[in-house]
């Protein structure tokens, strides 16, 4: 190193850079995880599209008479497989039912199955996953083993077995139970992984140090902060459940033919695919669009709640 004197440089003191250590700088708008997520969702046009679809389907399910005055059960064989005509925009099924009316009235069935499956999956999956992860050790071993066993049977196949055997008792509840009674295992795994991470955060320890019981801490601090993957999973599960019911009906072990459902309609229309494809197309479209709306919601919510994505917002 050559003999160099190092100059001592001092920057001019700029009053604008006044050094107040750690001043509190509150933004105008409040900010928390949910508030920010909601703001993000509201900015996306896709969110509104999905919500509108869900609302329309739900309204059709609850108040079908708002959408049509036709009776979906009244079929006139004279119109069998007839195309669209005045007052019957989507044509007729093989039995002469109005396709449009069938779709409107079928909405409630499909949606009910979806909702019930979600409720059952959540009711079983959330406690199983959360308790296993939070209490650990033997509780975890036991609950995880049980979960593994249910997880090992693809829920669709399990539903096939249940519905085949219970041929005398086919209704919406039974189907929902058959699907949800096995689908919970995936949710339990996902929630378990999330809780395992959250439970090591210091605010959980702080809660216990204050004197909250473990269970109270789990419910009030751990679960609310572990919900993100649960919400995403459940929105997608709703769509999957609707599809599963349709598939079961297609195989003949879903809802009895007397019940109006999109699945049944698709199943019955498949035989006349070549001659009257529209009878298959419309209920399929209704099903696809509904499932798509829920899946999109799930993906958007996932993005809105993702902490890494938030950082770059």
């Amino acid at each position: 190193m050559s003999d160099r004197t190092v100059e001592h440089y001092v920057a001019p003191i700029d009053p604008a850079d006044a050094i107040e250590v750690d001043r509190v700088n509150l933004g105008d708008r409040k900010s928390s995880l949910w508030i920010d997520a909601w703001r993000d969702l509201r900015r996306r046009p896709l969110f509104y599209i999905a919500v509108v679809i869900v609302l329309v389907v739900t309204t059709a399910a609850l108040f079908p008479s708002l959408f049509t005055d036709l009776d979906p059960r009244k079929g006139d064989l004279a119109f069998s497989n007839a195309g669209p005509s005045d007052g019957h925009p989507l044509g007729f099924t093989r039995q002469g039912y109005d396709v449009y009316a069938r779709i409107i009235f079928g909405a409630s069935t499909s949606l009910s199955v979806g909702v019930f499956v979600v409720l059952i999956t959540a009711a079983i999956g959330i406690p199983m996953g959360a308790l296993a992860a939070y209490y650990g050790r033997w509780v975890d071993s036991l609950l995880s083993r049980i979960g593994d066993i249910f997880f090992a049977i693809p829920y669709f196949l399990a539903a096939v077995v249940v519905m085949s055997v219970l041929s005398a008792h086919r209704n919406v509840f039974v189907i929902a139970l058959a699907i949800g009674g096995f689908a919970w295992a995936s949710l339990a795994r996902i929630l378990r992984a999330e809780v395992l991470q959250v439970k090591n955060l210091e605010y959980v320890m702080a809660s216990e140090a204050v004197g909250r019981s473990k269970f109270s801490t789990l419910v009030r601090h751990v679960l609310p902060n572990s919900l993100t993957p649960v919400i995403v999973y459940l929105t997608i599960a709703l769509g999957a459940a609707i599809t599963a019911e349709a598939t079961l009906s297609f195989l003949g072990i879903g809802l009895p033919p007397s019940v109006m459902s999109w699945g049944n309609d698709i199943a019955q229309a498949q035989t006349t695919l070549r001659t009257a494809p529209m009878a298959l197309f419309w209920p399929s479209l209704a099903l696809t669009v509904t499932v798509l709306a829920f899946i999109i919601l799930g993906e958007l919510i996932r993005d809105a709640l993702d902490p890494k994505a938030r950082a770059s917002r």
């Binding site: 440089y9 003191i13 050094i19 902060n225």
Partner: protein
């Protein structure tokens, strides 16, 4: 027993390269990041030179732009950042205009980089050997399988890794933090660069390991005449290791010059604040000239804090005992292999007393057992044996109900301000939670108490309706302190409570804690790995190593006259410990 290091300025005759020309010249560098809420200028016109073989340190707090400047030198800014102004001349050529391909030839071979966090900086799925060999091949240091392999082993050995040949086949997660950092240093130096950038190279490591690694790095760069650019938040470390110091604040250089010169005669107010607030420098100031005149611009003067403690020490003899720990033990069973398990004595029989109104620091590196001890003392886990007594009431071996009542007397503040507050709760709810759990007062009384507490920690009361994610780290710690005080406890356990904070903020919080202690008669158990902070904060010290307490004593005794070799090693490892101040 302090070590003296004087800074080397012996001229050498070097004719290989013209060492009167700077290797790197940074001129008016500007770096901007594009974020969702607008553009942020992280570096606002920075200029400096690095000469061949020189060691330069850039010091600053988080947000100062020091790391950004370092990554800008090799154009590896994070995704949304770019150089928006100025030049970077390497050997006279401006690299700001270089393409990716041209930069690839500069990186590694001309400018090397050693990053901060050794865990996340090595790819977990490839073996260590693979990653070292990659660096060697990419920079043309060797070619052909055998040559590359031999060179890789040499690189690792020089970096201080023993048994390098076997270690090459292992994976990063099988190494300790110190070993991983050595690998990164090896990779950085292996390509034989002319400048090595070390970005907080030891911040994630234990303090004794830090010293060893930094010493080694120093000797390696000196032997090869590699220039070293050291990025750090620790003023003491910077001054000890570098001949030239650059202080950055909010994207600008506020002061630069020879290290000792700046430490002894700081001119800029910010530099003065930093020096006043740096505990590692304060730990030595006690013994050096009392005539140092350091004005403080609203930042607590560590000297005064330390003096206040001298008064408290007298009290130690007379005050009753607030916390008593007797032969506390915690043993875990660790599974080794399929069917065997080994006992792990995390806490192996520790005992100490804390007098009311005083602060005991429990010091230890990682693996010492201090965190486990904290959990035991807080009653978060039952001990395997031993007793903890708060005041007159035992905490161990009592019913859950009694334990619950005892919690009112002892509260805790944790380390990570970003993880210690539930992000879903408002600040008011967080602070009021202890009151709610212990059913103290009605709703109105709690609201009033929350306001009172926010005042006590110097936060605006409007914060009660806001959420934690709007606050900085220091502000969150204040909230955590407010929460800890809600039930008017006698004892507060501070588990690394200031370790994650910037130096100036840390000083503020320490001042706050000291004020609260005097005002409310609190007893503190201060758990930390940072001996420097201990000096300015604690009345008594207990040093832990591998589950046992190896030394206890009053702070002055330990710092002036440590008995145990381990304690002495910890003291020597304090960055800046070797700096001698002219008096």
């Amino acid at each position: 027993m302090s070590k003296e290091t004087t800074v080397e300025t012996t001229p050498t005759n070097e004719t290989v390269r013209d060492s009167s020309m700077p290797l790197v010249q940074v001129q008016d560098l500007e770096v901007t990041f594009v974020t969702g809420s607008g553009d942020v200028q992280a570096v606002r016109g920075v200029s400096f030179d690095i000469y061949p073989g020189e060691t330069v340190a850039i010091v600053g707090e988080s947000g100062s732009g020091k790391s950004t400047t370092a990554t800008a030198l090799i154009k590896l800014l994070a995704g949304n950042g770019s150089i928006t102004g100025g030049k970077i001349l390497v050997d006279g050529e401006d690299i700001t205009e270089y393409s990716e391909r041209q930069m690839a030839s500069v990186r590694g071979g001309v400018i090397g980089y050693v990053p901060q966090d050794p865990m996340s900086n090595l790819n977990p799925v490839w073996s260590i050997g693979f990653q070292v060999r990659e660096a060697i091949r990419a920079n043309g240091v060797a070619s052909g399988r055998h040559e590359v392999e031999a060179k890789a082993i040499e690189v690792l050995e020089q970096a201080g890794l023993s048994d390098a040949a076997r270690r090459m086949k292992q994976f990063p997660h099988q190494f300790s933090g110190g070993m991983r950092q050595r690998v990164l240093i090896g990779i950085g130096l292996g390509a034989e660069p002319r400048l090595l950038i070390a970005d907080e190279p030891t911040s994630a490591l234990d303090v004794t390991v830090q010293k060893v690694i930094l010493d080694h790095l120093e000797s390696l760069t000196r032997d090869r005449k590699t220039a070293l650019l050291l990025i750090t938040h620790d003023l003491g470390l910077a001054a000890e290791r570098a001949s030239k110091l650059i202080v950055m604040h909010r994207g600008k250089i506020v002061e630069a010059g020879a290290s000792l010169e700046i430490l002894q005669h700081p001119q800029h107010p910010y530099t003065r604040q930093l020096i006043a607030a740096a505990p590692s420098l304060a730990s030595r100031r006690i013994h050096s000239s009392a005539g140092d005149s350091l004005t403080d611009e609203g930042v607590p003067d560590m000297l005064r804090l330390a003096e206040r403690h001298a008064e408290i020490e007298k009290r130690l003899a007379t005050a009753p005992i607030a916390v008593s720990v007797k032969d506390l033990r915690k043993t875990y069973s660790i599974r080794r292999g399929a069917f065997k398990s080994e006992p792990l004595h995390a806490v192996d029989g520790i005992s100490f007393d804390i007098h009311k109104g005083t602060t005991l620091a429990l010091v230890g590196e990682s693996g010492s057992g201090k965190s486990t001890a904290a959990r035991l003392i807080l009653g978060l886990e039952p001990p395997t044996s031993g007793a903890v007594v708060i005041g007159d009431t035992p905490m161990t071996g009592v019913s859950a109900r009694d334990l619950f009542k005892l919690r009112r007397q002892m509260q805790v503040v944790f380390q990570d301000p970003y993880a210690s507050l539930d992000p879903q709760r408002s600040i008011g709810a967080i602070i009021a939670e202890p009151l709610k759990v212990h059913k103290v007062g009605d709703h109105e009384a709690r609201v009033a108490r929350v306001e009172e507490l926010l005042d006590q920690v110097s936060l605006p009361t409007a914060l009660a309706h806001r959420y934690p994610n709007e606050l900085s780290g220091g502000q969150r710690q204040r909230v955590a302190i407010a929460r800890a005080l809600a039930l008017k406890p006698d004892v507060v356990v501070l588990d690394e409570a200031v370790s994650a904070l910037d130096v100036l903020v840390q000083a503020q919080i320490l001042q706050l804690l000291a004020d609260l202690q005097a005002e409310l008669g609190l007893t503190y158990l201060f758990i930390t790995h940072d001996l420097a902070v201990v000096r300015v904060v604690a009345d008594a010290v207990a040093v832990m190593e591998q589950g046992k307490i190896v030394e206890t004593g009053l702070t002055d005794e330990i710092f002036g006259n440590a008995q145990q070799p381990y304690t002495q090693r910890l003291l020597d490892a304090i960055p800046g410990a070797g700096i001698k101040f002219a008096s």
